[in-house]
Symmetry: C2
Subunit: 109 residues, 2 copies
DNA sequence: TACTTTGTTCGCAATTTCACGAACAACGAA
DNA sequence: TTCGTTGTTCGTGAAATTGCGAACAAAGTA
């Protein structure tokens, strides 16, 4: 499948999109894009799923490269994988033709 | 599922992301974002899938609201659904922007 | 009215996703 | 060492996804 008409960029973007393609995972990513880190224990309290299901979703995000976990005492701290996140930003920015108002421009004023 | 901790925006973004979450569909969307329209007959020639499979992927994109088809002679012309595309742009722009801090830090130096 | 072209729908099979509970592993605290 | 907390893994089942070929529908053309 996928000869070579489909570019590497398109494949990577599709991979990221797939990981984002579930409400729970979108919620987690959105949270992490605002909050720098979170703990899955806190997530299970808010979200209407049991911990094993959440664990699977977090694994899905990890496999896609979007987040990473760090052991911290009894818990695990999750945060965005900044490198992959940047790549996803670039891919989607190009794909969606989004012009981002650069904060740099504000500085130049 | 999905009490109300998960916002409408997150659900919509996840829905769009899901539709984008396949190489074939990402290819089609990327093409349409550059080309204004295309015909599925031309797509089957390039892509390594048979027409019935492509039809399903196009249906998936239609169901997500991202594209629309228009009957034109014997063929069907596909193009982006501009309204939904705009919405997706907005959702992903808000969702993906986190690199704001870094340029600011550079400015403050 | 046939015939051709184009794309959808149907039926099928293999695989993946999603969700749950139970069991397990890791590790600090009593 | 034993206990409690935290999160992963396993086993299971239901549903969705992906892909194919065959059959069908629509519509222009001979």
């Amino acid at each position: 499948m996928t000869k070579e008409i489909i570019t590497k960029e398109q494949q990577k973007a599709a991979r990221y999109a797939k990981a984002m393609g579930h409400p729970i995972r979108m919620y987690v990513l959105d949270l992490l894009s605002k909050q720098s880190c979170c703990y899955s224990g806190d997530l299970t309290e808010d979200l209407p799923i049991v911990k094993s299901t959440l664990s699977q979703h977090l694994k899905e995000l990890k496999d896609a490269g979007l987040i990473q976990g760090e052991i911290e005492a009894p818990r695990i701290k999750y945060c965005l994988n900044k490198k992959s996140w940047k790549e996803a930003q670039e891919l989607f920015r190009n794909f969606l033709k989004i012009d981002i108002e650069e904060p740099i421009q504000n500085c130049l004023k």
